[in-house]
Amino acid sequence: MKKVDNLIIAKKKFKSRLIVGTGKYKNMSECAKAIKLSGAEIVTVAVRRVNIVDKMKPLLMDYIDPKKITYLPNTAGCFNSEEALRTLRLAREIGGWKLVKLEVLGDKKTLYPDMIETLKSTEILSKEGFKVMVYCTDDPLMAKRLENVGACAIMPLAAPIGSGLGIQNYTNIKIIRDQTKLPLIIDAGLGQASDATIAMELGCDGVLVNTAIAKAKNPFQMALAFKNSVVAGRQSYLSGRIRKFLFGTSSSPKEGII
């Protein structure tokens, strides 16, 4: 059995293969507790205007220490390359963050990524020295092109953001797994812990979950469930599953039957 099985992104090592989002929680303390239970070492964060009027509003950094948990600035809500670039340059300015998640959306209803804008932005950001983890469609050709322009991780969707539908296209995920050595992380669309196990069993290096934990009836228990399901899926993948057979093969030896 492999003793050390770290997730390595842009030369940085992480023990946990579960990345969680920090949005949609009832409040900051619920978010912080769920993150702790999930065991995640990376969390996605959004860049937004400071509330000038209500300064008493709690700050994310007061609840989640960026020295202990890696903040992954995300461009959620950006609909073109310009907005995404502006957001990530600002994120870098806040505290020197170079590891970022790029997400350029193309449609308000499906929240599908605009891959042309995404590709363009990935290339520019990589040249500026960013380490870009890229939210993308599960199209193997686009995944390859992202890799060619310098992405540091490929993050295909399982299903539309927040839909909870689980992985829709196993084949494409397997093809992307086969063609890339970059970290492959399922981002968006997972609904329950078993979805994460499936992602890991398909050979993904990690999963990113937000809504499925934050909006579960019991977010704390779900955070724990996802933590365990990612570990289970990874171990299952590394163990090498059995071949599938059409008919039954008995588990007990035939010899000595009375």
Partner: protein, 72 residues
């Protein structure tokens, strides 16, 4: 008494009036914004936080102060 000139600027999408010749640093301090936890844009250009004290805000300047919040 000397009359203090006020100028109109746009801060985080809202028009406000501030004293003329205010520096970005004094504005940020007045707003009690923790400098280390934010990034600042002046007319869509990121401002180096070390030079905040040298930049005087002018009429109709657009200032954005952003930070990290919870997100997916």
């Amino acid at each position: 008494m000397k009359k203090i000139n006020k100028i109109k600027i746009k801060l985080n999408g809202k028009f406000i009036k501030i004293k003329d010749k205010t520096t970005l640093l004094s504005l940020i301090k007045k707003l009690k914004v923790p400098i280390k936890k934010v990034a600042i844009e002046l007319n869509q250009t990121i401002v180096n936080k070390k030079s905040l004290g040298k930049i005087k805000i002018k009429k109709n300047n657009k200032i954005e102060i952003v930070h990290f919040i919870g997100g997916g």
